[in-house]
């Protein structure tokens, strides 16, 4: 009798343990899985692991990247790579990227599972924390790459042909892909933010000329008001989770024009306080436009309450523009007037077919320099791809993303500026032909400072500070910048 009791007890315990074990297995099996997916499906020679043999078996000439060569030879046919990016589902960007990926899928037989992801930064972080990271992910903020690399989540790209990448890419972008001297990110797409859009016909009708200096810019603004043509500026910053970034871009762009590049760099690394006099001076320039009477359409409420995709709606008002100038990167073209609705229904249409064709209705000019000694700087931003899972086909896709072919489709569709110098200049059409020249003429290329600051500031107090600053119509400059300075971690 006694023996049986113990036996029964043991069995009960065993059952409970087994049940718990079954539960816990869920998270561990994910880790082991990828090995199973590397096996090619249709009788191709299996490639075990990702050793760099350097042999190119493909019929074409070598791309200079080993895994890409293998992939083009069809060695990874039937495998799948998951890639995430923040370009919203059904947006132009997502449609363009899908289109761009097609040649790679056709040439290699690798199935690229592209997931445009809303609420991107949180979603990616949660996936990484939960052990479900995608193979490749786009990252807009270099600070995030450093965080992931520090946490050991990223695959170091030491297997990548760095000599080739280094010579193919604009050096500033190549360097920015590094964390502690190790390459982790491959820059794919860049943006120039230092441009101002204006309605071509209305400018011509009123005899307005494109300003080339800050003084001309201010004079033109005053002229527009004096002519009774409404407000010169279209400005707004509401952007859901990222509320306020448009304002930080403005401040950074001005700071690049009113202070030496070293000050800009020290400001990012906090070697000088956030509210350094040079920064406050830039803020004064900014408030001369943002908060001057009648300058900004709808005043500070419009700035804070209007979604960034609708900022420029009054520029396309039926009776002529109610606001005349908007500082925003080239992607904004997809949001002009009737373009928004048109693209939602025709995501594959090229920009020539849009109701408001970029370059015909609205054109851009360079956000003018302020102090001659600091020349003509350019504020930029860029997206890189980082790698979470190391498999040969993932390497192949990442290598491909560093070739001009990965830029071709998107350039063809418009709205794409590659950080690669190997992309032929004549591929570019409007507006990137102009933008690439702007980059070449730039005396300094400043990377978006808020993206480089610690997230507590760059994605936190800097944004909310700008919102408070706007709400108070610039009356509380010193207080706002002091608050941001106080919030700097450490």
């Amino acid at each position: 009798m006694k023996n049986r009791t113990w036996l029964a007890l043991l069995l009960v315990l065993g059952l409970v343990v087994a049940a718990c074990g079954g539960d816990g297995g869920e998270s561990t099996t994910t880790e082991g899985d990828p090995s199973a997916t590397t096996a090619p499906s249709e009788g191709e020679t299996p490639t075990t692991g990702g050793d760099d043999t350097g042999t190119t078996t493909g019929p074409g000439e070598s791309t200079g990247y080993d895994h890409l060569d293998q992939a083009l030879a069809g060695e990874f046919d039937g495998t799948t790579v998951e890639i995430w990016a923040q370009w919203l589902p059904e947006s132009v960007e997502a449609a363009n990227f899908t289109y761009t990926l097609e040649p790679f899928v056709e040439a290699t037989g690798i199935d690229v599972n592209f997931q445009p992801t809303p609420d991107y930064e949180t979603a990616l972080q949660v996936a990484v924390d939960g052990g479900n990271a995608p193979d490749l992910a786009q990252i807009a903020q270099p600070g995030k790459m450093h965080q992931y690399a520090d946490a050991g989540s990223l695959v170091a790209l030491d297997w990548l042909n760095a000599d080739k990448l280094g010579s193919d890419m604009v050096p500033a972008f190549f360097d920015l892909g590094h964390h502690n001297d190790t390459l982790y990110g491959v820059y794919y797409k860049s943006d120039v933010k230092s441009i101002v859009w204006y309605p071509i016909q209305a400018f011509a009708d009123n005899g307005y000329e494109v300003p080339t200096t800050w003084d001309e810019l201010v004079a033109l603004s005053d002229q527009i008001i004096a002519d009774g043509n409404g407000n010169p500026w279209c400005i707004s910053i509401e952007s859901q989770e990222a509320d306020g970034w448009v304002a930080t871009d403005w401040l950074e762009d001005i700071l690049l024009r009113t202070a030496p590049p070293e000050v800009y760099d020290q400001w990012i690394t906090h070697e000088i306080p956030f509210n350094h006099p040079e920064v406050l001076e830039a803020a004064d320039y900014m408030s001369d436009i943002w908060f001057a009477e009648d300058y900004a359409y709808g005043g500070s409420t419009y700035i804070n309450a209007t979604w960034i995709g609708e900022t420029q709606d009054p520029m396309f008002a039926e009776g002529g523009p109610d606001c005349w100038m908007q500082k925003q990167a080239a992607w904004i073209g997809g949001f002009w007037g009737a373009n928004r609705d048109f693209i939602a229904e025709n995501p594959d249409a090229s920009s020539d077919e849009w109701p408001n064709v970029p370059g015909e209705d609205v054109d851009f000019f360079y956000f003018p320099m302020i102090e001659e000694e600091f020349g003509t700087p350019v504020l930029g931003a860029a997206d890189m791809f980082v790698m979470f899972e190391d498999r040969p086909e993932v390497r192949a896709l990442l290598e491909w993303l560093a070739t001009p072919q990965a830029a071709e489709g998107w350039i063809e569709r418009g709205g794409f500026l590659s950080p690669l110098t190997t992309v032929p200049a004549d591929w570019y059409t409007y507006p990137n032909d102009g933008l690439s020249v702007m980059v070449q003429n730039a005396t300094t290329v400043g990377f978006d400072a808020s993206d480089l600051m610690p997230a507590t500031v760059g994605a936190g107090s800097f944004w909310s500070g700008m919102i408070d600053w706007v709400a108070a119509e610039g009356e509380n400059t010193e207080e706002v910048f002091q608050t941001i300075e106080d919030s700097w971690p450490g």
Partner: protein, 386 residues
């Protein structure tokens, strides 16, 4: 003769027992194998490669449901069979524990462990050189956090009280009308909408466009339209659309209104049921004594349903303390509308500042506890869940 019978009986039971144990073991083994493969499929991202995403999602959901239900059932069944192999006394002693064990394990794993972990993180993940409570010291000296706490307090003071008051009035009024259930359904409907859904709806209601443009928000559309008459009649000089979500402190009140809209239905349903439970002898006796309807309502009805009032109030108060979605969706916590829960999210997911995030969580937890205590005590007094 008698003796033989007894051993016979014993032999059969022990035989049956053996069969039962073997069956239980087989079931357990089958369950384990099924769980193993099922979870393998669930965690394999390529298991459904080649099928449209919704197909794979449906299959995943089906597998999860079958595994969950069947797994739990076999767990209890096998465990129960095994326990029955024990002597009667032991069986009776162990059975309740067997049935409670999975629930306790789940609560422990998903509630107690994270709570303890959160508290531990809030005192250990401190800035360099900080003491155990430096996160709390930082929090309570940070003007932003003070502002969040102040907002939480405003929410707590206004939202539950107003929800209960409106709910009570509705409950008292609809008690007398013919289309009671229809009227109730309308008030109750918002409760079926998620907080995020409600926030999105109200974001449109509160939408602001500059004067001169078409107002797409219904409130501003009405205001500008009505204001136009006021201007015509010379009562107002000018009518400007109102930035409901940007204007401080109007915006916090506008957000609280969303919460009230969501919670009134809940308050009304519970209180209406309570009012119907007031014994008619009491009200009739009062009526005979010459009490007015108002006196009956305030002196008889309300004191009788005091317990329900308290339950509704505390339940809404807890929901209000935890409020996150409404603010996050509408203002993102900007324009001085942020509360502790929004800050917790930002510290956690945007700034990756675990120490501060967990500190916010603990502050919320501590704030909710007294209300929980009141709520549970009250339930006990009423004999519910004693």
């Amino acid at each position: 003769m008698q003796k033989e019978d007894e051993t016979d009986v014993h032999a059969t039971t022990s035989n049956q027992l053996g069969v039962k144990v073997v069956r239980a073991l087989l079931v357990a083994a089958a369950t384990f194998t099924a769980l193993w493969f099922g979870l393998g499929i669930l965690s394999d991202p390529t298991a459904f490669a080649g099928t449209p995403p919704y197909v794979s999602k449906v299959f995943q959901a089906l597998i999860a449901i079958v595994l969950g239900v069947a797994g739990i059932w076999t767990l209890f069944y096998a465990g129960n069979t095994l326990i029955e192999a024990l002597p009667d006394k032991a069986t009776e002693f162990l059975r309740p524990y067997l049935f409670v064990l999975p629930a306790v394990a789940v609560v422990g794993l998903y509630l107690i462990y994270p709570t303890v972990g959160t508290i531990a993180t809030s005192v250990t993940d401190v800035p360099e050189g900080g003491g155990f409570f430096s996160n709390y010291a930082d929090a309570f000296t940070n003007p932003e956090v003070i502002l969040n706490l102040r907002n939480n307090l405003i929410w707590l003071l206004i939202a539950p009280a107003v929800s209960v008051a409106i709910g009570l009035v509705f409950a008292g009024l609809v008690d007398r009308i013919r289309l009671e259930s229809l009227a109730k359904s309308f008030v109750f409907m918002p409760l079926a909408i998620s907080f995020v859904g409600a926030a999105v709806i109200w974001k449109f209601v509160y939408a602001w466009k500059p004067a001169g443009q078409d107002q797409i928000g219904i409130l501003n559309a009405l205001w500008v339209w009505a204001g136009g008459f006021l201007v015509d009649w010379g009562i107002l000089e000018d009518v400007e659309p109102i930035a409901w979500l940007q204007q401080i402190p109007l915006n916090t009140l506008a957000l609280i209104a969303i919460m009230i809209w969501l919670q009134v239905g809940f308050a009304m349903v519970i209180l209406s049921a309570a009012i119907k439970g007031v014994p008619s002898e009491l009200t009739e006796a009062a009526r005979i004594d010459g009490a007015s309807e108002r006196q009956i309502f305030f002196r008889i009805t309300i004191p009788t349903i005091k317990g329900s009032l308290l339950v509704v109030y505390t339940t809404i108060a807890i929901a209000v303390l935890k409020v996150f979605d409404i603010i996050f969706v509408t203002t993102g916590g900007n324009f001085d509308t942020s509360v502790v829960a929004v800050r917790m999210y930002q510290e956690m997911f945007r700034f990756r500042n675990f120490g501060q995030a967990t500190t916010m969580a603990v502050i919320l937890l501590v704030a909710v506890i007294p209300i929980m205590v009141v709520n549970i005590r009250n339930l006990r007094r009423q004999g519910i869940g004693a």
